[in-house]
């Protein structure tokens, strides 16, 4: 009994590390004693921003190393192992190299718009972190339209990518930008629908509210809506331009996509933001579908942000796994997969969520019994949908492209020249030697 009393005196104190918000509240109260309230709001805002930057800055350096090392393991090679112990200082060396490199701008580039994107791309990348709940009260801004904020902010990144690709005045950069924009507006649809399932079912648009709903009902959303989780995972990895879906910077097709003309640290900034976005998307997948900072009561004993970081790491590993093992898809495959498979499937689950929510709210079904039944039903429906897609609705594989493409064997090379010569009935011209 006394131990419990001791514990409760610790709870909520500034040194209670389970929720760093306690420390911040102490600072706010201390400022409120002597200063006007706007200083408190500015200080907490700056503290939140510094905390976010302080976490993701070093994390990015480690993540570069982790990702390269893990992918190397998947591809049966060593990965970076020269600079520092186990190659740990490789990201630092890379960063120094990128900073020292000369920064070039194409002469025909649109100068102002060319210089802006590496800076602007940071704004959505940092803002997204603001609504991520690290604990029950631990988020920079717990908006009650958090889900919409997430979608709005991530949608603006497309514009920056387009600016980068267009202003470079390079056809490959423009190709990459157009692909990025086309893919992004397509994959936003299943992403929104997958999130809509959760919003409908939990009845809140606050991200922390969704986590608290999962805590309250003792269930994680990936069990209730597995297909939405998978669709969100794939759509997010497409929005991130990661390898199964990185057609906007496919190096075997269009040099480096929208950042072809960016050299030195400008490219480094794009790269850093892409990695940071990967991390934050893993965190959001963990938050939406894996319960976020909550883990069946473990969050009472372990700091909740540590649980979130562990789940984030697990999702991040999954993202690296898909990147390391899956080949790149073609743009038409990606598009048709989005519109013909992901959108109908997620739409189906929005309807399912509506019906099940109505059963709970209006028909008064008890959630303790209803939720397991719904989970089993939804998992069965998911498996059925996937099997149906694999058996029936799957697009037939094309062994050869039906129309001759730009770089097919039909055009260019000796064969084309020879056939041109044949067609013009010019036997006296010998093209190439037979």
């Amino acid at each position: 009994m006394s131990a419990l009393a001791d514990l409760s005196s610790v709870l909520g104190a500034w040194y209670d590390l389970r929720d760093l918000n306690n420390l911040q509240r102490l600072i706010t109260e201390w400022i409120a004693e002597w200063g006007p309230d706007w200083i408190a709001s500015i200080v907490t805002g700056v503290l939140g921003a510094l905390a976010v930057l302080g976490v993701i800055g070093p994390t990015l350096l480690i993540l570069i190393w982790t990702e390269r090392k893990v992918i190397a393991r998947f591809q049966q090679r060593y990965g970076p192992n020269r600079v520092g112990p186990k190659g740990l200082l490789q990201p630092v060396a890379d960063a120094v190299k990128l900073i020292l490199k000369e920064e070039l701008a194409p002469r025909a580039a649109d100068k102002l718009i060319f210089f802006l994107p590496p800076v602007l791309i940071f704004i959505p990348g940092i803002l997204i972190w603001g609504v991520l709940p690290f604990g029950p009260q631990m988020s920079v801004a717990d908006l009650n339209v958090g889900v919409l904020f997430l979608l709005a902010v991530s949608g603006t990144a497309v514009l920056v990518i387009f600016m980068a690709g267009w202003s470079s005045n390079n056809k490959y950069a423009l190709f990459g930008a157009m692909r990025a924009v086309a893919m992004s507006i397509s994959y936003e649809v299943p992403m929104v629908l997958a999130l809509l399932t959760l919003v409908v079912f939990s009845g809140t648009m606050s991200i922390n509210g969704i986590v608290q709903w999962q805590q309250q009902e003792d269930v994680i959303f990936i069990l209730l809506f597995p297909l939405s989780a998978v669709a969100f995972f794939f759509a997010a990895s497409a929005e991130l331009n990661r390898t199964p879906a990185d057609i906007s910077e496919a190096e075997s097709e269009i040099v480096a996509g929208y950042h072809t003309e960016y050299s030195g640290m400008r490219f480094g900034l794009f790269y850093a933001v892409e990695l940071g976005n990967t991390l934050v998307v893993s965190a959001f997948i963990a938050t939406f579908f894996l319960g976020g900072w909550w883990l069946w009561g473990l969050d009472q004993w372990v700091p909740s942000w540590m649980i979130l970081l562990a789940k984030t790491g697990a999702v991040y590993f999954l993202l690296i796994w898909t990147r390391g093992t899956l080949p790149r898809l073609r743009i038409d495959q990606l598009m048709s997969f989005c519109w013909k498979a992901l959108v109908p499937a997620t739409l189906l689950f929005v309807v399912v969520a509506f019906v099940e929510r109505t059963l709970i709210l209006s028909e008064g079904w008890d959630t303790t019994f209803a939720l397991p039944i719904m989970a089993v039903f939804n998992i069965a429906l998911t498996l059925g949908a996937v099997m149906l897609f694999a058996r029936v609705a799957r697009p037939a594989p094309l062994r050869k492209p039906a129309r001759i493409r730009l770089t097919s064997d039909g055009i260019g090379g000796l064969r084309a020249a020879r056939e041109l010569a044949d067609r013009r009935d010019a036997p006296q011209i010998q093209v190439g030697g037979d």
Binding site: D110, A152, V158, M163, V181, G410
Partner: protein, 202 residues
């Protein structure tokens, strides 16, 4: 929020909105104009935030900055001669007339409205309130909007669809391709012959 902070936010956001809007008129490059439009939209979203309308602010960013502007960029990129000077347009006079009429009617509403401080203060749970009123009181306009959007979607698909004849030819060649008998002669595709080639060959 202190009074000073609010005024600072309002005036800087208003400057951003109006400055962006004026730059749309001044800039002669269509892509630049779209980017200024985005800045103007962001300013409007910020103004919504100062009015504690966070739902509308976020939706403003989501729809106008994230979707409409991207759609505009797409339209510009797919339009031939989009690189031309922005001032060369045949509809300058009608456009000016329409804009002036819209401006006059907006100013009429501005002058006519009784601008006083809101009695109830900021609403919490705006998304829920807006959703409920859309479903209960304004269900008819809401459904009309939904039908309009669906019709637009179907219309866009109908416009972008291949002709039946075209599709049939394509499917036919696809089938033959799968059967292993190609009717597409690679030489047919190289057409017309390059002038330099003809010169070299003759």
């Amino acid at each position: 929020m202190s009074d000073f902070g609010f005024h600072l936010a309002f005036w800087s956001l208003a400057a951003m909105t109006i400055g962006g809007a004026s730059m749309i008129m001044i800039s002669r490059n269509l892509i630049h104009a779209v980017i200024w439009l985005v800045i103007s939209m962001l300013g409007i979203a910020g103004l919504y935030l100062t009015l504690s309308a966070d739902f509308i602010a976020v939706v403003q960013v989501l729809i106008y900055v994230g979707a409409i502007s991207v759609l505009m960029l797409f339209a510009i990129m797919l339009t031939p001669r989009a690189e031309r000077d922005n001032s060369q347009t045949a509809v300058r006079t009608p456009a000016a007339i329409v804009v002036i009429l819209v401006l006059i009617s907006t100013m009429w509403v501005v002058v006519d409205t009784d601008w006083g401080p809101a009695r109830d203060g900021a609403l919490s749970e705006q998304a829920r309130l807006i959703g409920e009123s859309l479903i209960r009181h304004y269900i008819l306009p809401f459904e009309i909007g939904a039908i309009l959007l669906t019709a637009a979607l179907v219309g866009a698909i109908a416009l972008a669809r291949q002709d039946d004849e075209d599709a049939a030819i394509h499917a036919d060649s696809l089938q033959r391709e799968l059967d292993g008998e190609s009717d597409l002669d690679p030489a047919d595709v190289v057409d017309p012959p390059l002038a330099a080639d003809v010169e070299a060959n003759s």
